[in-house]
Symmetry: C2
Amino acid sequence: MLSDKTIALDAMGGDNGLKVVVPAALGILEKHPNIRLILVGDQAQIERRFRSNKAAKFIKTDRLRIKHASECVSMDESPALALRNKKDSSMRVAINLVKQGEAQACVSAGNTGALMATARFVLKMLPGVDRPAMISALPTTLGKPAYMLDLGANVECSARHLVEYAIMGSIVAQAAMPPGERPKVALLNIGSEDIKGTSIIKEASQLLNELKVVNYIGYIEANDVFQAKADVVVCDGFVGNVALKTCEGTARFILRGIKQGFKKNLFTRFCALFMLPVIGPIKKRIDPARYNGASLLGLNGIVIKSHGNTSVIGYMHAIEEAILEIEKNIPEQISHRVEEVLQNSGHEE
Amino acid sequence: MLSDKTIALDAMGGDNGLKVVVPAALGILEKHPNIRLILVGDQAQIERRFRSNKAAKFIKTDRLRIKHASECVSMDESPALALRNKKDSSMRVAINLVKQGEAQACVSAGNTGALMATARFVLKMLPGVDRPAMISALPTTLGKPAYMLDLGANVECSARHLVEYAIMGSIVAQAAMPPGERPKVALLNIGSEDIKGTSIIKEASQLLNELKVVNYIGYIEANDVFQAKADVVVCDGFVGNVALKTCEGTARFILRGIKQGFKKNLFTRFCALFMLPVIGPIKKRIDPARYNGASLLGLNGIVIKSHGNTSVIGYMHAIEEAILEIEKNIPEQISHRVEEVLQNSGHEE
């Protein structure tokens, strides 16, 4: 019996709210028979969505529940204000469910800053971890993912924070690798030479060279991330967010260019027929929906951030990321590893 | 007579040195009859390359000259050490030629940090400009370029530096636009809302809002750069460098994926024949060689940085960027605009 896997969904969060969350939830319940979901948000609105969907059978078996929340954090709200004033927001209540043990993870497509601030306030950080970080997988030429963090949780990081990210990212990458293999961890920099980069990155590199628990391989440049030269790429949240969005923007730019190219004339339209079997797999491989679901690491609980304007499929991926992290017990693993590092460096807790 | 357009090339710089610089130089002399070039580097090595190439006719008409330099700055050398110890490097001598008025611009594919430090030391900054910035064009969906700066000259920038970049970038973009149009300038950020970003970016945004000479439109996210939402995108050198390399890496990843997709079986190989007329133009549009040649702005002289491992075509583009900047007299334009800003803000020089 794995009936203890309950996930709370911030049903009001994101650009599309219930329109995406409800069908994604039903899809997950259909696909994963051992999962229970709690939809957090405006009860009346959620129930209205349920009527037009086939939610009844899941409600009957108690696999699908609603938890009413009277407020909603908007996408451009200040994280500090959301934390202070919206104590009954769908986001906050979903995180509370994790804190209270009623859910083992929560998923939100809402305001990233507010999600981080609220999760940190409610769940607290794991002992020894100073800041949460957002991690997500990127596609590489070898087919295996490259995990990148931080993707926007902290726009300004110290060297110590980057070291924390390296430790946490290593655990997430390890969880997806065959036992025995050690993930290669690199710091994102603007050159591979020692002299390159900011003083913070140079300091982090020195610290990581001395750290035994992380398989640190040095600097990586952004263009090499896709060559699978590292399994974990560490950077501050501003840089990571820009890299992620540049990647999305470039991919969309090229694929749109190809699409337009085919529309040029009758001959190219005919050519397009021969292109589908080739472009299809590529599009699937780099589909942002497939990589949706960034994990907020370092918290005493599992919190997954979905892209704000993701599709139903994308939101389902985010929920599946939560399932994986419950199975792998990521927070506990991080907690152990950080304790180990602190003990080795002489800072006993 | 436009015979005063002489460009000095750091012939030893870059990953490929003379192998790329010599054929590119000959290509430019062939294509632009009013340009003169000075190749700076090891005389014996350059002459050896000339023998196997058709350099004689250009040497005879004095359009191609060699300036001997006994040293070479390596790609991983510390900028400070290169500046102090290599006074006769090909890079330094090429920049000296601009200082002395023997050349109107110089091009180097060498060590970026050393190029910036040396150019700054030899040529000095324009009055009122604190730091040089690297600018280059990126392709967009609308076909027109988006200029991005800084791309790696300064890894750590203040708000004031970002404002300087906005002013300088605006002039470069204007030079490539129809008269009367004002380039839209945006700050690269991780969200479009006011609360997003580092304290430095927020401060720069405030300063730009007050500045009349720049058509500031607010924040831009990295994925929107390719949608031509701004003509000039301003960021610090670390972020810009990561964005540029992420863009290159993603493009290579997708195009390689398509190539591999076509190789899968006989049918897909057959399909590839129909693909060429469509993929060709796209590849050309995003070809890094086409966008090679980043300008170092803010200096009292024109210095163009070529990608370290560019092709002959790419290096030719870098030289052509130098030609354009000579024609448009970019340093003088920047100088005038900065003076104007300083006078308006009450800081007379």
